[in-house]
């Protein structure tokens, strides 16, 4: 509030409207929460199982996103290749695709009878659906674009003259990438990781379609929430509060630290 006189009223009003719009559902959720029985609901075995699966799946997915996404973002910005526009659109596709469709597409690709999945089964005896690894695949698929877009944006704003400078001083391409590009990118990578991780944590549609739903194996917090909504709405609200708390605990500090705020 440094410029109360200078801020246009209409802008302030609309911004306030937007904040209300986002905060209202959260407040409504808190208002309906069964506070007195919360501890009881949250220490149930099925909740602990779901939390465990969620933590493992979202963290592994975030790790894979980091490893796959960083080179991808770099290539998209710095390498002049054919079909770059098309590839860029492809990278964004999981953001637009309804997750249930994404999960079905993953089944067609990596399922037991899928394009690649049938060979995975025949050669390596690996089937991804109905396994924790399958849940990781689903989460990675939907989370990857969030990371790539964030890192791509940062790469585009950083000019590449430091990289060129290092190259003229005799550094090999891989050491330029490791010692010049990556350190500059750290803040964006952390922000992208936080976003991708949050998306992986909340992932529902692709997971239930591709990986199924089994306690302790593929049933993540969102799946447990959906199932509880059918039979025990209070437990569903309690589960949502866990998701809310976990994501706030991670996103509030990372956002302040990595996305420049004044």
């Amino acid at each position: 509030m440094t410029t109360p006189g200078g801020a246009p009223r209409a802008v302030l009003f609309i911004a306030a409207l937007a904040i209300t719009f986002l905060a209202l559902p959260v407040l409504a959720l808190l208002q309906r929460a069964p506070w007195s029985s919360l501890l009881n609901l949250l220490t149930r075995q099925e909740v602990i199982d779901a939390l465990g699966v969620s933590v493992v799946v979202s963290l592994v997915a975030a790790g894979i996103v980091l490893v796959l996404g960083t080179p991808l973002a770099w290539v998209l910005v710095r390498v002049n290749m054919p079909l770059r526009r098309l590839i860029r659109a492809l990278v964004l596709l999981p953001m637009v695709l309804p997750p249930v469709v994404g999960g079905t597409a993953l089944l067609f690709a990596l399922g037991r009878r899928g394009l690649v999945g049938q060979w995975l089964e025949r050669w390596f005896d690996v089937t991804l659906p109905f396994t924790t690894a399958g849940a990781v695949v689903a989460a990675t698929f939907v989370a990857l674009p969030f990371y790539v877009v964030t890192v791509e944006g940062a790469l585009r704003t950083n000019s590449d003259h430091l990289e060129q400078l290092a190259a003229t001083l005799g550094a090999s391409p891989i050491s330029v990438f490791r010692r010049v590009t990556l350190p500059q990118l750290m803040p964006a990578m952390a922000a992208g990781m936080a976003l991708a991780w949050a998306r992986a944590l909340g992932e529902f549609g692709a997971t239930i379609t591709f990986a199924g739903n089994l306690p302790g194996r593929t049933r993540t917090l969102p799946l447990a929430t959906f199932e509880a909504l059918e039979s025990d709405p209070e437990a569903a609200i309690a589960l949502s509060l866990v998701l809310l708390a976990v994501s706030l605990a991670v996103l509030v500090p990372t956002r302040d630290r990595w996305i420049p705020t004044r």
Partner: protein, 243 residues
């Protein structure tokens, strides 16, 4: 600038007013009937609705979904004339909240659980149901087909709890699962599915009830017990009385 903003605000208010008005008037048009239907009836209800509109001037609007979700919508005030569900507890619950008024409630049909497999799969026999190396999917506990599955079969090595019998059918149709517990009517309806081995229709089974929530709804509930309606139901594999 300011007039511009006022213009937007006026348009916004105008649209809200129209929406509010249509919301208010729609339930009053008595010619229409809105039927909330459990998803396991989604095929047969379309034929039943066609038969109903044939003989009368009303048109039928179908709202198809999981019983629990539909009941939650009804509790939140969604306008409906008929609720068709396999979960009798939901009807008791709705009645206790005064949502069924004095509407008619009638048993409509029964459905049985069967173990099914993809038509392309190898021959199975009853003991394969407990083979942990096969992929077995069932409905999740808490939905009617899932509760019935648990009552019927104990300790199955399940690989996935699906949100509905339809979802189990999809797993089998895609050949992603070896065995699945579905409704007998699902096997009748889907050419990609067969019974894994010959099975008798036995209970525990699922009984569908229809509850009228308005005078027109009551008429529809009565129609469901008519000869024509029961013929349609049995053509889809439902039975009238539990055997």
């Amino acid at each position: 600038m300011k007039t511009h903003f006022n213009g937007i605000l006026t348009v916004f208010l105008f649209i809200s007013l129209i929406l509010w008005f249509t919301q208010r008037t729609n339930p009053d048009s008595t010619l229409d009937i809105r039927v909330f239907t459990a998803s396991s009836l989604s095929d047969v209800i379309k034929d039943l609705a066609d038969e109903w509109t044939n003989g009368s001037e009303t048109s039928v609007e179908l709202v198809i979904g999981g019983s629990n979700h539909l009941a939650a919508q009804l509790r939140d005030g969604a306008p409906a004339d008929v609720f068709l569900t396999a979960d009798g507890n939901l009807l008791t619950d709705l009645r206790s909240q005064g949502l069924l008024s004095d509407g008619l409630v009638e048993a409509v049909a029964h459905n049985y659980l069967v173990v099914a497999q993809p038509i392309s799969g190898p021959d199975r026999h009853p003991s394969t149901l407990y083979d942990p190396s096969l992929i077995l999917v069932t409905c999740a506990p808490g939905v009617p087909c899932g509760d019935a599955t648990i009552t019927r079969f104990a300790d199955l090595p399940v690989d996935s709890h699906e949100p509905s019998a339809r979802a189990v059918v999809a797993r089998l149709a895609l050949d992603e699962a070896d065995l699945g517990v579905v409704y007998a009517t699902d096997v009748v309806a889907h050419p990609d599915l067969i019974q894994a081995w010959p099975q008798e229709n036995t209970c525990p089974c699922v009984a569908y009830s229809a509850a009228g929530m308005s005078p027109t709804g009551d008429k529809f509930v009565k129609f469901l017990s008519s000869v024509q309606a029961q013929q349609i139901l049995s053509a889809h594999g439902f039975t009238l009385e539990p055997s």
